[in-house]
Symmetry: C2
Subunit: 660 residues, 2 copies
């Protein structure tokens, strides 16, 4: 579609975006560079800049822009191409793991090697013997074999013990036979399996001499290393289009009595005696559970970053999008929507949530590092005590953190009005791609059962899970706010114990347990954020540290207001926050303090335009020019329709879309 | 991908889906056929059955299944093809409007004629003179010209008065000149404009002799009727991919001093005197506003139906998806997830919400019919009094109804676990396509401003908006529940008045105004549902009517619990529901009453498998077989990857995917 001169004359438009964003930036005393250094560290920022410069040079930004218009088949092809490109760049630039990871993160939708690079290699690293490392891990690291991790089945996800795939030990040969007894035994949702992998780590019920020894992991070849066609007895494919994540080949596989060698059962922690068939354990698998904990914290940390990314887009756009005049100042003309109380109360608390979740994850990562140190030092007992706390906190953070993150992302999208719905907003796919995190690695509702039970167990043992549990005083200092959250958890814990005594069934107890878990997660986040503040005061310029203090207060007040009746039941509602209108006033005050720093606070996360991939969130504020450019060049504009209903012609094609 | 015999042997699997659904159906005393008759009427049910049989015969089900894998370009082509096919069928089968509408509804994503069939023709019908009807409406109805309705601009949506496009009356010729003064004046988001329309109804600022007379509507040709190329001075195209709704060509257009004849200004209610240039009004545009009211009620009613559709899928799947054993009955083996309290408390209230919203919309439709009758009878004053009530209720219902609908749909999707994320769930696209409704026809947040102000105005005039406003008595009958909702609205109204007196700015008042509007919408829904119950008792078999009564109670209790602190502030919390645990017990009791009827209550909406287009929601319960069939036949399985990073080959293609 060629562009007439009179349209070109409207570009570059004399639009206010850049000047409005500049004004926001200079009117705030928050230092985004100091925040970026705090959040990422100087080394990581430099590494990212290097990697992203290369990606831009290699044309990854254009590839990213093309993705939303592609068919599933086109996405798969470009995903494999992108994956190969990244691996070639890794070689060419001698990227270390951190650089490669940064490159993947900045290259848009996860490519088809994603689960090979992550899950397959990680699992082989953790659970193999030395012999198995040579056989499987080394070729995997060299990309000689491409693998995936196959646990979930068509009709079993969360319930691992209910898996149906079997691995039967053959007494005569010592081999294992992998089999899918029925349709629902099909491995399902397995990333990288659909089209890419030639190996799968298959979780299957180990059967020895007729006895089921529970789920174990086996290395199973699925496709020929030469032709890449499925091997005999293996029916494998892609499960089809999804709500998001469509550059990944989530796959299925069915096995028909597939024989694999003895050495293919991962044997670092347990094995079948090749002579007697006796099942034996060795070493402590504790740190595998520790690893799961770490994985959950990582998911929660991602949830924080992704929410921050959506905030960066929505806040910047709200700062330059003018709509209506403020009725209190009708003569000032149209005002930026970020000046409206209704927009502020939706968006500003999300900035606070992203920081709060970040600091909570940081604290948990430190706790994990301590645990790791104890374990390495052989202090098993102390390590295991820490592990219990890590477990409950990581389950709570993953469950609650991903839930509030995806809800927040969607709130950001809607706050962008109509344009939020377009792919050029850069938020829609963020939401769609983030959504699985509420389901995988422990469904968020299922996890609350584990959290509430751990809390009850700890309460029974007298473990002080929340040390601040005391009466909220008259004032409402930060400490008092934290105390209110602690008191609520204590109240719900006691209530839960009482309900069990009153004869509530375990099933019925799941609902109050879910409330307890949510309250606990909110407490974990609020208290971690409060503990971080004094340290931040030492690391940051005073106005920047103060702005984070304002975010803490906003986060705590909004969270408290969302469950006010629970706080009231617990007698944990500070007197000054007793009524809805008192809380609204306190929140309005907190919003007013955060408002001037909104843009700089999201700038602090230091997302590049390449990563944001958003017209609305552009760092320079040239929103409308970018929207227009993306629209005009979209491939649908290559079509000429014949809309006459009686005509058999559907479309003709033009030569290439417009270039702007 | 050919299917080995051993896989075929697993099909048809001996799966429990059908028997589990049958058991659910026979264990309930609710009569789905009676519900379907109540909700849709026998004629409409018969009409749908006829139309859908034709669509199935014509292969629409296969087309529907193909959609999620298509590129944007493929979607546009198939959308135009589908649109033509439907128009041909309309002719062939002599479909009336109701049949054609039903066919469009059952044919999946809205096709490219959507805004021509709806907005273009409706607007021409309402706002043209007889001369204009001949010129534009008649050819539009005969599909000789294809049109769209172009209001929103790149930087102005809600604020119609802020639109930038101008229509300047040329004193010499009497023509109008349509112009886009800058880039942000581009019409944007206009459905059917991107590739399809050759005419646009353009909303533009009418300028006569240098004076701006505000936004008016003009018929502007945009593409040649012969070549379908853009006309001189018109730059028009598709805005690109969106989060959903990708079979529609939402478009943009810029005008460069485009001259149109005098007759092209829609002139039923106002016109420019062709000789003097004087601006004149004629007739009453009141019923145009009435029409907007009706449109909003329609959106809310769609929100109810779409939520019901998601419920049908999620409930049926939850009734056959087994996961873990109930810990209270460990020996019974795995149990259907619908038996878990945590699943029930998420899903069952949504069944209640869909019915509640339906009955509220019905009541408002009746109110509209009364208004229409008064207007036709020339009783203008009475009609206008009703219009005020219609306005506030329709704004409230649209705003709150679409919000709870999209949230409910997403809750349904997540409750389906991993499979909810796959397109074969049939929920993801439902959500994505429903989402714009929270933004268009009045952004849901913006509308709350109008609602709260109307309430305040009515309160000032002493209009009894909520007659049940009285102290909730000790008991908690249905009436008492409604009274609690009314009392809360009264309290928030008084509070809002007080805040204004206390000097809160208009901007600051938007937040409590939003709370007031939400409370009012919930009151409208709860009270309408309560009023419907006695009538339902006369129309339905007793157990079915009773089941709807149970839904009322569940809906009221859950809604009340969600804002318990507001009810408490208002002194409207019935004593028996004073604490969180009391409310949880009451809700648990209500859930237990609804649980046995869950499947039959969603069956009552009578969605066909064609419309649901969902593996999880199949009426016969053959969920896993259908998932497997869709996965195996998805087009990605035609690709053979070469995953070796060093190989330049990306993919080879196989002949066609598997057919099952």
């Amino acid at each position: 579609m060629s562009i007439p001169d009179w349209v070109t004359a409207l570009l570059p438009a004399k639009l206010e975006g850049p000047s409005l964003l500049s004004a926001e930036r200079s009117n705030s005393s928050v230092d985004p560079a100091a925040l970026a250094k705090l959040l990422h560290g100087e080394d990581q920022l430099a590494l990212r800049a290097r990697v992203e410069a290369i990606l831009r040079q290699e044309g990854f930004d254009a590839q990213l822009a093309a993705l939303p218009s592609q068919s599933r088949v086109e996405k798969m092809e470009s995903s494999l191409r992108r994956g190969k490109h990244l691996k070639a760049l890794r070689k060419q630039h001698n990227w270390d793991d951190a650089s490669y990871t940064a490159a993947i993160g900045a290259s848009g939708e996860m490519n088809v090697y994603g689960l090979h690079d992550k899950a397959f290699i990680k699992c082989l690293t953790d659970q193999t013997t030395d012999e198995q490392k040579k056989l499987f891990l080394e070729p995997a690291k060299a990309d000689k074999i491409i693998g995936c991790y196959a646990q979930t089945e068509l009709s079993h996800g969360s319930n691992v013990r209910g898996l149906e795939t079997t691995a039967t030990w053959d007494e005569k040969t010592g081999d294992f036979i992998i089999h899918s007894p029925q349709l629902t035994s099909a491995k399902w949702w397995i990333g990288t399996l659909g089209r890419t992998a030639n190996y799968a780590l298959v979780m299957a019920q180990l059967i020895v001499k007729g006895k089921n020894l529970g789920p174990h992991t086996f290395v199973v070849p699925v496709r020929s290393l030469e032709t890449h066609e499925p091997l005999e007895g293996v029916y494998v494919g892609d499960i089809g289009p999804k709500f998001g994540y469509n550059s990944m080949d989530n796959g299925f596989v069915l096995f028909n009595h597939v024989r694999i060698p003895y050495v293919n059962m991962l044997a670092r922690f347990q094995y079948v005696d090749p002579k007697t068939g006796e099942y034996k354990r060795r070493g402590s698998p504790a740190f595998v559970y520790g690893g799961m904990t770490y994985l959950r914290v990582g998911i929660a940390a991602d949830a924080a970053t992704t929410l921050a990314r959506a905030c960066a887009i929505a806040i910047r756009y709200a700062a330059i999008r003018k709509q209506f005049a403020d009725e209190d100042k009708p003569k000032d003309g149209e005002t930026a929507v970020l000046n409206y109380s209704l927009v502020q109360q939706r968006l500003l608390p999300l900035i606070a949530t992203s920081y709060a979740l970040y600091f909570a994850c940081q604290e948990l990562k430190d706790l994990y590092a301590n645990y790791d140190k104890l374990l390495s030092a052989g202090k098993t007992q102390q390590a295991e005590a820490l592990l219990a706390e890590l477990h409950v906190q990581s389950c709570a953070l993953k469950s609650h953190g991903t839930t509030i993150s995806v809800e927040g992302i969607e709130t950001c999208r809607r706050a962008c009005g109509g344009h939020g719905y377009a792919q050029y907003s850069g938020i829609g796919h963020l939401y769609a791609d983030m959504l699985p995190s509420v389901t995988y690695e422990g469904d968020n509702y299922m996890l609350t059962k584990q959290v509430s039970r751990s809390i009850l167990k700890a309460a029974k043992l007298g473990v002080p899970l929340f040390q601040e549990a005391k009466n909220a005083k008259g004032g409402i200092s930060n400490d008092d706010l934290v105390a209110a959250f602690a008191r609520r958890v204590a109240f719900l814990t006691t209530q839960q114990q009482q309900l069990a005594k009153d004869g509530w069934s375990k099933n019925a107890l799941l609902v109050p347990g879910w409330r307890l878990s949510t309250a606990y997660a909110q407490y974990v986040i609020v208290s971690a954020f409060a503990r971080a503040l004094p340290k931040l005061a030492a690391q940051l310029p005073a106005p920047t540290a103060q702005a984070l203090g304002d975010l803490f207060r906003l986060h705590a007040l909004v969270t408290l207001d969302g469950s006010a009746s629970e706080f009231a039941d617990a007698g944990a509602l500070p007197a000054q926050l007793g009524s809805g209108i008192q809380r609204q006033k306190a929140i309005a005050d907190a919003l007013a303090r955060v408002r001037p720093n909104a843009v700089n606070l999201v700038d602090g996360w230091a997302f590049s335009d390449l990563v944001l991939n958003s017209s609305l969130g552009r760092e320079d504020g040239r929103v409308y020019e970018d929207i227009f450019r993306r629209a005009a060049t979209n491939p649908v504009n290559e079509l000429v329709f014949d809309p006459r209903p009686e005509s058999k012609v559907i479309v003709k094609r033009r030569e290439g879309a417009a270039k702007l």
